[in-house]
């Protein structure tokens, strides 16, 4: 006799008020998801759909009635009757300060257009902390053939640590070390990657929002001045190596694969790949093979 399958308790719908608009949201969803449902643009740096929210960047903070301090939209769950303000002066002030603090201490020049848009939108002026403001500037780490770590671009969003850990790879080759402004991403005793537990899945690169972690191929082309995203095409395919069926996006420039990614919303990969899918593309363009 077939037995019933437990599909979880039914989720209740709750009504929350966001910027004066009543909206129905499923209990257990976050304020951020509810905001996105209303097409309210919310700046996020440490949040990503395929990772557990760590709510450390504080760019997404919103005002919730009854709360003494602002709350992170990315991790706070909606509650019935909650009144949320996403664009009050208080919210705009904190968002602006967060962006200014980050941009004054970190090289954010490789962040996407979205981040630059928020900088403009919130009127961030990182230079107002003065020319002597402490930064995380440091030399680039190039200790292997596959990827480059430039921690002067690191905003410490914890995403790479999460991707290396329980959220994707379970390798735990990197962690957050040190404390305060000296907190940084490191292997044990900052040993080189080949000495660490790293398996070169590249999932940390996949989630890095600032270009601190980068394919060596991309880094070399940027150094040579030949990297040009406007000249790149993206070809979707399925990884040829094993039977899992990971979807690959091959970024191609001048008829060469320069980078491999996978979509975050893909049901198999959730954006994550392994070393073969991520880096094992050389054979495609091998001269020997075509001869």
């Amino acid at each position: 006799m077939a037995s019933g399958v437990f599909v979880g308790l039914p989720r209740r719908m709750v009504t929350v008020t966001i910027d004066g608009v009543d909206v129905q949201a499923t209990e257990g969803t976050t304020i951020l998801e509810a905001c996105r449902g209303l097409s309210i643009d919310t700046p996020t740096l440490c949040q990503l759909e395929n990772l557990t929210p760590v709510n450390v960047c504080r760019a997404c903070v919103v005002e919730v009635e009854g709360s003494r301090v602002l709350v992170p939209a990315c991790s706070r769950k909606v509650e019935a009757g909650m009144k949320v303000l996403t664009d009050s002066e208080r919210v705009r002030h904190s968002r602006r300060m967060v962006l200014e603090m980050l941009a004054s201490s970190v090289d954010m020049s490789l962040c996407g257009p979205q981040v630059r848009g928020w900088m403009t939108q919130y009127g961030a002026q990182p230079q107002r902390f003065g020319p002597g403001a402490a930064t995380v500037a440091q030399p680039v780490k190039i200790d292997n053939d596959l990827y480059v770590r430039d921690y002067s671009r690191c905003i410490l969003c914890y995403k790479c640590v999460e991707a290396c850990g329980v959220d994707a790879q379970n390798t735990f080759a990197i962690g957050v070390a040190g404390r305060g402004f000296d907190a940084h991403i490191a292997t044990e005793f900052t040993v080189a990657l080949p000495e660490s537990a790293c398996v070169y899945c590249g999932n940390c690169i996949g989630v890095c929002p600032t270009g601190a972690l980068m394919f060596k191929s991309e880094y070399d082309m940027r150094q040579a001045g030949t990297w040009d995203e406007s000249q790149q095409t993206v070809t979707e395919t399925v990884c040829p190596y094993c039977g899992v069926g990971c979807m690959l996006e091959l970024h191609v420039q001048d008829n060469s694969i320069v980078k491999v990614t996978s979509p975050l919303d893909h049901s198999v990969t959730a954006g994550h790949l392994c070393v073969k899918g991520r880096f094992g593309f050389e054979f495609v363009q091998s001269r020997k093979r075509s001869e």
């Binding site: 709510n55 960047c57 003065g130 962690g175 040190g178 404390r179 402004f181 490191a186 044990e188």
Partner: protein, 614 residues
């Protein structure tokens, strides 16, 4: 989990330190030598991984033995506990007391924090720098080094120093007051004489301090003779609901700083459906200028153990942790002794005082991190992780230590519980004001004649409290009082008549906080004090969230510019910047550290008109 380690092997001494704490490894899977069975059986599962919470005690064992934590030692600890080395390195590098570079076995930590500054700590550090080289650099002999330290909780005997000697016979000692002569002898290899304990002077009206300095803190018999464990007997008569009702009726508010109603917290934990429940006593007293919990732990350790037991039985906890800051070796020793004696006398263990209920306590030692006084950071620290605060909600009463409902109480709060049960909630609530019941311990330090702990009924004025501590020295006038420590705020002469209650201080925009009262007379260099506070928060920020990680640095930079800039308009730009930073830190930081990191500096600029601020 496969633990990949590529460093050199640990030394025999380091292995002895780790195995001395954990016991010898039983297989390759636990970091031992390979035996034939290891090829067929794996022991790397949940049981091994669930010992992760032992990481800090293991690191302490290594540090105590070797004086520092080498890569070999850390990786051996990782193999023993099945922790990835990068993860463990992140933990070890978080805590100031764990040294990850080789250093001499003898370490002299000299406090240069607020109260010690008032007592000449800067001159002492300058002299040490001349005599023994810069802080953190081993002297000529190579066997000792001195370090600057944040508040050591010895503000009543400032300036203070903590001495650590690593080795097979690890030892810790405190020197307070410390002078150049005493510290140079120690750096030269002479171990200090055993210190004389100094406690608060018990007065007739003492309640929370009634046993301090009266009862032998090392003997349970002495404690029982003085009426000890009567409160536990009363609690067992009343039953959990009755105890919670008493604590609620007494209107006890938490004494750790946040002033949350204790009865409500107990009730929430008692009713939390998830099991097991945990009880945590927060003894990580690290707020500069605060030393009340140290005095209680040193002078009345059995009282704290009894208070924890009552709290645990009322809220259904079977396991308790007391997290004491690493800088309190004597308090830790006294508490550990009290727990052992209570266990031997049947007041802890499987059958507490014949009640059939089970409760026991484990002492956990902090490792130099102010942030671990924040309750959720403290949980992470007990769990063997970096002391990073968690986002709330969920609150500890629902999701706390190891993800379970957890009751967290401050040391002083638990001693109040004994008073409530011994004398009844009605009697207890007669003292103090309607909104702030009972008495309160205040830690007086700085420029008063008799620094120390003073117990007064809630509602006593700040002026009266300073008078109790002997007032200022002859011919001096009051410049300011820092109420509530580095996270508190400055008040001035005109505010001295504020009644010391939660509501009274709130009305003038101040806070009682942890009960720290640091007094400054007209000789105090308040600019240096402000810079020290700014450095304190920069050093102690955990680094997790942007407003605090970057904000504390930007705050220090702006303050330095404000204090040195002579151009008024540039100074005003920086003052506006400082206020912008302060607002974001207060509004958007994850925890109380960031939220209060700008409060003292902001209040000083406004209240004391420093840098011409109006």
């Amino acid at each position: 989990m496969d633990i990949r380690t590529t460093g050199g092997p640990p030394s025999a001494e380091e292995i002895a330190a780790v195995d001395g704490f954990l016991g010898a490894p039983e297989s390759l899977w636990e970091g031992g030598a390979r035996v034939e069975a290891d090829d067929h059986l794996a022991y790397g599962g949940l049981a091994t991984r669930s010992r992760r919470h032992l990481l800090l005690p293991v690191l302490h064992a290594v540090q105590d033995r070797a004086g520092w934590v080498s890569r070999g030692a850390l990786e051996y600890a990782c193999r023993r506990l099945s922790i990835p080395p990068a993860d463990a390195y992140g933990v070890a590098s978080f805590y100031a007391r764990f040294a990850l570079d080789e250093r001499p076995p003898l370490a002299v930590h000299v406090c240069d924090d607020i109260a010690c500054k008032c007592a000449g700590a800067d001159a002492l550090c300058d002299a040490l720098e001349k005599g023994f080289g810069p802080a953190g650099v081993p002297g000529a002999s190579g066997s000792a080094a001195w370090y600057r330290s944040p508040c050591l909780g010895l503000c009543d005997r400032a300036p203070a120093a903590l001495i650590e000697r690593a080795g097979k016979h690890h030892a810790e000692a405190r020197v307070a007051p410390a002078g150049y002569m005493s510290l140079s002898a120690i750096l030269g290899g002479r171990w200090p004489d055993s210190e004389t304990s100094m406690h608060a002077q018990p007065r007739k009206e003492s309640r929370l301090l009634r046993r301090v300095g009266v009862v032998d803190p090392t003997s349970i018999d002495s404690y029982v003779q003085a009426g000890g464990y009567a409160a536990l007997r009363r609690a067992l008569e009343l039953g959990p609901d009755g105890v919670i009702r008493e604590v609620t009726d007494a209107k006890l508010l938490g004494r750790g700083g946040a002033a949350f109603p204790t009865g409500r917290k107990w009730d929430a934990v008692a009713k939390a459906p998830a099991r097991p429940h945990f009880m945590v006593c927060n003894a990580d007293e690290s707020e500069p200028g605060t030393f009340k919990d140290r005095v209680l732990m040193e002078g009345d350790p059995f009282g704290i153990v009894e208070g924890m037991t009552i709290a645990a039985l009322a809220t259904g906890c079977e396991q308790g942790y007391l997290y004491v800051r690493g800088e309190y070796p004597q308090a830790r020793g006294r508490i550990e002794n009290a727990i052992a004696q209570a266990r031997a006398h049947g007041f802890l263990g499987a059958d507490v005082a014949g009640s059939g209920l089970s409760f026991d306590i484990e002492v956990r030692r902090g490792a130099g991190a102010y942030i671990c006084g924040e309750e959720t950071a403290l949980f992470n620290s007990i769990e063997g992780k970096r002391g990073e605060p968690r986002n709330k909600p969920p609150f500890p009463v629902a999701v706390g230590l190891f993800g379970k409902p957890t009751l967290v109480n401050n040391v002083e709060t638990l001693v109040n519980v004994l008073e409530i049960l011994n004398h009844g909630s009605a009697e207890y609530a007669k003292t103090g004001t309607a909104e702030s019941a009972g008495t309160r311990l205040f830690c007086l330090s700085g420029h008063v004649r008799a620094p120390g702990i003073y117990e007064v009924p809630m509602g006593t004025t700040l002026r009266a409290l300073i008078e109790m501590a002997g007032g200022l020295r002859e011919g001096r006038s009051l410049r300011a009082v820092l109420l509530g420590g580095a996270a508190g705020s400055f008040v001035t002469e005109s505010q001295l008549d504020v009644p010391l209650t939660f509501e009274g201080t709130r009305a003038i925009g101040a806070t009682l906080g942890s009960g720290a009262v640091i007094v400054f007379d007209d000789t105090a260099d308040l600019e240096q004090v402000l810079l020290r506070i700014a450095r304190f928060f920069r050093d102690e920020s955990c680094g997790q969230c942007v407003p605090c990680r970057v904000g504390t640095v930007r705050q220090e930079e702006a303050l330095k510019r404000i204090l040195s800039e002579r151009n008024q308009s540039l100074r005003e730009t920086d003052i506006a910047l400082l206020s912008d930073i302060a607002r974001a830190m207060r509004d958007a930081s994850i925890c109380g550290l960031g939220q209060t990191a700008a409060s003292a500096i902001g209040s000083a600029l406004i209240q004391l008109k420093i840098a011409g601020v109006n």
